[in-house]
Amino acid sequence: MSETKNMIVNMGPQHPATHGVLRLVLELDGETVVDVTPHLGHLHRGLEKLAEHKTYHQALTLTDRMDYTGALLNNLGYCLAVEKLLDVEDQIPDRATVARVCLCELQRIAGHLLWLATHALDLGAMTMLFYCFRERETVHDILEEVTGARITPSFIRVGGLADDITDKFIEKARAFIKEFPGRIDEYEGLLTNNRIWRKRTEGLGIISKEQCIQYSITGPVLRAAGVDWDLRRDQPYCGYETYDFEIPIGTTGDVFDRYTVRLIEMRQSIRLVEQALDRLPDGPVMMDDFRYAPPPKDAVYEKIESLISHFKLMSTGYKAPKGDVYMSVEATKGELGYYLVSDGSEKPYRFRVRPPCFINLQAIKDMTVGHMLADVVAVIGSLDIVLGEIDR
């Protein structure tokens, strides 16, 4: 028998199954993976550096561009961090808080739908792409109705929301949550008991509870490994503790468990949207602390004081007290945290994002070594990475 040696294969950065510009250098023994080395940074834009040169208000737009499948959740995390720094958390109007939950849960559904569509496509189930994008389109239409943008809304602002949510939005959202559970049943009908799907996903990419915690893995990947932990319940923000929802957890921590967990999460998000819509109170959607929040638009047109205040806030920005805060939210991919350091000026002295995808991806070697080359694609899909956030 002739001698064999391992082969080095370069996967990406231009590879459809790496979900962006991830480059993996794989060492293969035949078709079995021996080593994986991720190379990151192809999409690095220096977002943290840029944010240090923008006012607190301007830096918000940068957050949209990290995880572009869950922009509203990025906005929310950032705004909560700034609100904590400014110590105005109590002043956020109820309507804004409830609307935030509603918008963010819709965004979570859209994020999970994109994951399901591409993950299934990677594994050969093309129909899923069309089905999921159909519903994702509906969600984006709903979000566009109120935010005016589909991917980069920058709608959640420090102090509340950019604008009031409309009756048409509520109507559309209600129609969607009525229809969507049936759609999830459809997806499940196509995949859950599909023999090909199960063979491609079960027992693959297993990671244990202990390993997850060692690697700081958060979000659905952590829950699939059996850790019952969700920031919405354990470190609640936006009043999540008052909502009724369940947190799905897996048992084996394989690719199939991550799929199940995310599907249940979508169902729970529907419940949350429904509850938020039911309890939506009347009132303003922006706090009236005019040190930080812009005055209402009609006042800007009519009163000179409001005009000056608006101009000041939008041009020079407001000064934040000295100190540092860390605030995190449960984003679609895991714990999305913002660590802000203020030196007392209008701009963040240090703007640090705790990127869930970057940290989750670190475990890819543990998940893929010993499996086949084709399984690497399934594992990447199940991690639900977005390179905009990994590289920032």
Partner: protein, 198 residues
């Protein structure tokens, strides 16, 4: 505005940034003026335990906006992390985040910041370690595996070297990149770079 900052226990420390010291002095005055509110007891107990173990290495403990933070000297950071991870009642099993701050102009230029989370206590704790420019700090890779990439990122963007790290290479920028972009003296527009990346 009423700052809720309370100095729980601030040891006089020469190594700390002068900026932070004046801030602490201000806060101490404020605390004196205000009615003495009961401090969060767990942090006090934690600092007491840590001082018993590490003495002078525990520099200060501060609560700001309800978030607890301790400052430790850089040479003891691995031991302190081990203690925090393994001591019953704290169990800081997860390194949520590891990053750095460039305090350019201060006596010790950098601060490495560890954000810890304890599942059993549902608590967060921030640990800061001041590091001078050009000085090394030990890696906490052996405490939490997650530190591997996070420390590489800090090395890449700040140029802080982590001693004992298994793979101290740039992670976001390419090998041969000139400079460390998140340093305050690095221009926002960047520097002209030779494209050594294949």
């Amino acid at each position: 505005m009423d700052n809720e900052e309370k100095v729980v226990d601030a040891a006089q420390d020469a190594a700390q940034a002068p900026e932070a010291q004046t801030q602490e002095a201000e806060v101490a005055a404020e605390v004196e003026a205000a009615a003495q509110a009961p401090a969060p007891s767990w942090l006090e107990t934690l600092v007491e335990g840590l001082k018993g173990q590490f003495g002078e290495a525990i520099l200060s403990a501060v609560t700001f906006r309800g978030q607890d933070c301790i400052t430790v000297s850089a040479d003891k950071v691995v031991d302190v992390c081990m203690y925090l991870r393994d001591t019953e009642g704290y169990d800081f099993a997860m390194l949520t985040d590891l990053t750095a701050v460039d305090n350019m102009g201060a006596k010790t230029r950098f601060t490495v910041v560890y954000n810890l989370y304890s599942f059993s206590q549902n608590l967060r704790l921030r640990v800061k370690a001041p590091v001078a420019e050009g000085a090394d700090i030990s890696t906490v890779e052996n405490v939490w595996k997650a530190a591997n990439w996070m420390e590489r990122e800090v090395y890449d963007l700040f140029g802080i070297n982590f001693e004992g790290h298994s793979n101290m290479k740039r992670i976001l920028l390419w090998d041969g990149y000139d400079g460390h972009p998140l340093r305050k003296d690095f221009p926002l527009t960047g520097k002209p770079q030779a494209m050594t990346y294949r």
